[in-house]
Symmetry: C2
Subunit: 356 residues, 2 copies
Amino acid sequence: MNQKVIFTTLVGDAIDDLVSQLGAPQIFVIVDVNTAQYVLPVLKEQSKAVQDATVITVKAGDAEKTLENTHTIWKELHNNNATRSSVVINVGGGVVTDLGGFAAATYKRGLRVINVPTTVLGAVDAAIGGKTGINYNGYKNEIGTFTEPIASVITSDFFNTLSQQELLSGYAEMLKHGLLESDEELNKLLAYSVVYPIFDAERLLSLIETSVQVKQRVVEADFNESGYRKVLNLGHTFGHAFETLALKRQSPIPHGFAVAQGCVAALVLSHMKLGFPSETLQKFADYVRKNYNAFAFTCDDYDFLYQAMLKDKKNLTPDTVAFTLLEEVGKPKIEVPATKEEIASALDIYRDLMGI
Amino acid sequence: MNQKVIFTTLVGDAIDDLVSQLGAPQIFVIVDVNTAQYVLPVLKEQSKAVQDATVITVKAGDAEKTLENTHTIWKELHNNNATRSSVVINVGGGVVTDLGGFAAATYKRGLRVINVPTTVLGAVDAAIGGKTGINYNGYKNEIGTFTEPIASVITSDFFNTLSQQELLSGYAEMLKHGLLESDEELNKLLAYSVVYPIFDAERLLSLIETSVQVKQRVVEADFNESGYRKVLNLGHTFGHAFETLALKRQSPIPHGFAVAQGCVAALVLSHMKLGFPSETLQKFADYVRKNYNAFAFTCDDYDFLYQAMLKDKKNLTPDTVAFTLLEEVGKPKIEVPATKEEIASALDIYRDLMGI
């Protein structure tokens, strides 16, 4: 990883410092309609570089990560005489950094990029891997590049523009990182709540900083996504199945909510198969039950959930579900197979713990 | 530079070896209509990997380096279930490697690429820099990436499918590299001729190998295109002006021909300003006159040529023409300014030497 990752409560100063280090080049700021409304005015007050920049606005939402919108950005860059020394600042969530990052990575063989993530999930993901991409032909991130930004500026300043649901959804990934890291980190996370009005933005920023470090260590340990990186799947096998069931019921749940609840189910299975401590399981389940709505289902749904897990592309063979589990907090074990019966038992206990 | 560059007369074996080292992945071969007709049948006989590959054919010519053709390639990759472990083999000239390279670099954030250049110019350029790109919005290579192939397989096997003009045009860049390298290399190049029927493909391959090394050394010495790399502009300031004049007359000349003749003019100016040895100048001019048609003009064209040179984007100031010249073979000097009068004198001597 070559990019700088800056954690700051003075986001405008950080941007202006970076821009001046880069020789005060021509700046383009890419925002979506939400960050244009809620974030850009604040950034303009705080940063001379953003004030002087050419702003390119795209629509919001994953459905806008299209080649058509890539065209729009390319044309705006062209019409405003962008050169290879121009710099693009992406201000927004994953859609803006993916789409803006892809357009910038391919314009004149690559402009330099600074990312300013405005969501918790974006902040936790920003420092990692330099993925850019658009959806194409009905597939997510089908077209894209691995191109690291030169810097990511991570700030808590804009988290107050996020909905409760967005905050919680991003925080779920941080809980997962806490489980992968240590009892100490997990306890810090469980002692904190992103639920309004308790919400403390600066403390959240410091928790994000640790969370980013956890993810960086995992990714650096496994640059080619071949093995150890699978620890990041913790909670995702159950989580995806929950999402699929919710989708079938035509009442989708946010990905982060599914991950938080999937982590509870994974800890149950970890307890059953690897002796994960029941006290920690109980504490974690309590936190999720209180902060995230319990995702409810009955034993009639078990077969559907099992079939969904079988289709998970991370399985090693088509007829065995493989999980990332924990022996204890900070001790993940990847590719642990579980039988249909074991999964059903885990789901029974999950329902007990979550009171459903 | 991380890519392998393989010089071989057994191109099929080289491809099959590479593919087997890569774990025998699914292979896509991208060709244009010309290489589909003249090169692909031969490659299929020589290489099991090519035989089993999915072939994607695009139209030939620089005008086909479009986003539409990128779509075509993306769709073919998709329809044939390409995964991130698939490998794309580009077989063709610069259009195929630029376009196929761009499509591969952006599909699922990047498939691995092997380039098999089939032109002399492609072979000399192949090992360098990993440029991919398409034309967009009326500009050449406006959209693209820097993405190195994992390997380039350079062979003389397909040069007999090239026209005399294509051979000569590619050879001009090699002559330029010879001038930048040493008397020994230059003499080897001047002792050889790509003109049929003398043409000796294996000897040409060995000359290309040296030529590639010269270019690699220059590019490695100056990765950011900021300074020393300008030595590669040798002959191009005059050459571009000749091309512009030819275009005005509505009888365009191949780029390589303009470069060869531009090198003669640059050596004249080098002799005048830096004492470049007249014997070598004479010998080089003789070779160019014999092998390339002399580009003819009169003193009435001097002002047009001068204006064209003033517009060269490589000048340091808008009212001074800056040249890459040689003190002697192997001793280039960049950014040498010359007056309108000096340029006119050089063009006088050029016309004498070329017998026009």
